[in-house]
Amino acid sequence: MRAPAGIALALALAGCNLDNSVGYIEIKALPSSAALALYLDSVRLDPPRNGNALLRQKVGLSKLQTDGEGGYLALLCTIDVKKNRITSVTVSTASRQPRCQCGRTGGTDAGGNRTCVG
């Protein structure tokens, strides 16, 4: 009886995510006047005031995206949000293709998959 009860408890606890930890993402637009549509995990962000935005975000990986071709979202970078830490990202539109510049990058980036860490 004990084993099934333990399994049931584990399943029930796994089913409800009690971790409400949050961290912060600072997005800087370069140049600050750049009008670029940004999405954080598909949620469209308000244009940053004075080119700066600070967002509270659940701990974990979040995708920073922009409008891509054919109505799809194009991934700029992945942001690793850590509890009570701030991850800084600069979105540069100096070149034709908008790019993410991380304050600090993850050590395991491959190709275009850039991960910014806090």
Partner: protein, 219 residues
């Protein structure tokens, strides 16, 4: 069918139900929080002023906590204990940032209050029901309210920048202390920790200044 379902339910261990109840209670509490985020009874500007007053109380509390923390860190001789203290400080700074973040409650209410002031002013410009002097009085009051809201938002914007810098400083120092501990440089780690106290005291002073600088619109 119903009978068999009831029978199956009866077989589910009590612990499962206890855990499920825990889930429901936890969800209930977060749902309650989400509801508290939505101003229902008050208008956006009233709610913004209320939240701003609460934020100022938080600033006062945290300013005191920062001072206490600076004193504690000054006396610390253990790098591990200092790391704990810094972690706690990050939590405090996080609370401030949560309030003033773009998707935070105070900030959202501030922008809503501004939008409302703009809408009211636009509506009053074309209002024909009131006497001209009454209409001008209302326009004047809404302009004052809008200016006060803009000032408060500007102060919050400044606060946000300061808190973000402080959080960055704390986490960078924490990482550096970690690196030092990995190479057994305890003394150097303690020097870095003691060097942090000026920054923390400075944050406390800035919070105190903010308390006097932020005026609650309509108060």
């Amino acid at each position: 069918m119903i009978g068999s379902a009831a029978c199956n339910v009866a077989r589910i261990p009590g612990l499962f139900w206890a855990a499920l109840l825990g889930c429901v209670l936890a969800f209930g509490s977060t749902a309650g929080l989400a509801q508290a985020d939505k101003p229902e009874l008050r208008t956006a500007d009233e709610e913004f002023s209320k939240q701003l007053s609460e934020l100022k109380r938080t600033f006062a509390d945290l300013s005191k906590k920062f001072e206490d923390s600076a004193q504690t860190i000054d006396r610390l001789n253990s790098a591990e204990a200092a790391r704990k203290e810094i972690e706690e400080l990050r939590e405090y700074v996080g609370r401030l940032l949560a309030a003033v973040a773009d998707n935070g409650m105070v900030w959202s209410l501030g922008t809503k209050a501004l939008r409302r002031a703009d809408e009211k002013l636009k509506a009053l410009e074309t209002e024909t029901r009131y006497k001209e002097e009454d209409r001008q009085f209302l326009i004047g009051r809404w302009r004052e309210l809008k200016a006060a809201t803009e000032d408060a938002i500007k102060e919050l914007e400044g606060a946000r920048k300061e808190f973000a810098e402080l959080l960055r400083k704390l986490q960078t120092n924490e990482d550096f202390i970690d690196e030092l501990l990995q190479i057994q440089e305890h003394q150097r780690a303690i020097e870095v920790i003691h060097g942090l106290t000026d920054g923390i005291r400075d944050a406390s002073d800035k919070l105190k200044k903010l308390l006097t600088a932020i005026k609650t619109p309509g108060a």
